[in-house]
Symmetry: C3
């Protein structure tokens, strides 16, 4: 309970609304609520001001695994920001169900789980057993705006 | 309401059933209906006769972003064709929930959202607020038959 | 009914619990059950002892399509092993809904469906009409531990 208090206790805050880069149209919903579930669009790492957080590029080439882990943690905060704006209260999330973690990487990179753990560790620290989720962590040829990590997810809400 | 009338008003028609290339087996359902939802398999762009629509290849290399956008729009028509055959009536779709847009591209391509907008713009033009959806638009190393775009989705039905 | 009997009749057995490679943390649930559905994490091919099954690498480069097909079949057995441990009885699965098949491949590989058929053919042989599923079969830049195939899925349970 009281997820935002826990965030504050961890020294973390939610970023400002996502700033879409100039000239880009994103004609979809960051969170789509329907029938007790919230479908969450692919999110990337954000700075506190809402802009895309670097370093950009491919994990294993432009970012270390540790930097990838931190990017995935920022994706978690970005997603929680969108959920807060849509749901009003992060404690309405009763269960995390599915996490699809996508890592921008070269063809010889094989440590996607260690990167996406930055997201999973945050969600589990905040939501404990409600945070348990099925997950894939896989390697993409490329991601929008050359982001290092993008994650989509599904949660149950009440 | 009356999605097919709107399609006709837009000068668009649904393609014939998907023609599977010779020698290829696809042992799955293009649309799987269960408990008020329709799970939609990955679809590619189709010609009116049901064959795979070109240009084939990678967006940013073999196709421009504009050609990728058009391919994504054709994926939307292909998917609507499958949904019409399965559901009987496209007005049975009460909500678009999740869209996973996959773009065949080179490792340095970063405009996946501009490509998948071809799909989202079509769905929103037809379904308005019912068409709102969560979305990811990401870059794949390769796609079946060297298609430029493949999209899978989930809708609620009544 | 009696899926395990059918497996035995086919000369197949379920592998031991997944052995995570040394030093790797996987802080998620292989199967997440919620409200009549089981969300299944990305699974790879396993040996009988629970270790990751080779050959590792990219289909079309390090593995033939036939070897990729066999790897996808092993993914099916791995997933059924996780489902057996979570659900107690594989006959509790009332419907396969969504299969997302990811093939580790080079940018010029285009036979992902022929690879993922190794999974679909197994599920259909075991579950018949309950095994019908929506599916995507796509090409990834890279996969964890350099596995050749990873598949995530969703099933309905009772």
């Amino acid at each position: 309970m009281h997820i935002e208090e826990q965030l504050a206790n961890m020294g973390l805050g939610l970023p400002s609304p996502i700033k879409v880069p100039a000239g880009v149209k994103l004609p979809f919903s960051f969170v789509r609520v329907y029938d007790g579930q919230a479908y969450i669009s692919g999110h990337g790492p954000q700075n506190a001001d809402g802009s895309i957080a670097g370093p950009l590029g491919k994990v294993g080439v432009d970012l270390s695994v540790e930097q990838g882990y931190e990017a995935a943690r920022l994706v978690g905060l970005s997603m929680l920001g969108s959920l807060k704006r849509e749901l009003g209260d992060l404690d309405r999330i009763s269960a995390w169900l599915r996490v699809h973690g996508m890592v921008n990487c070269a063809p010889d990179f094989a440590q996607q789980p260690a990167v996406i753990n930055g997201f999973s560790d945050l969600i589990l620290a905040l939501y404990a057993e409600r945070g348990a989720h099925a997950r894939s962590a896989v390697g993409m040829a490329a991601l929008p705006f050359n982001m290092a990590v993008e994650i989509e997810a599904l949660v149950a809400i009440n």
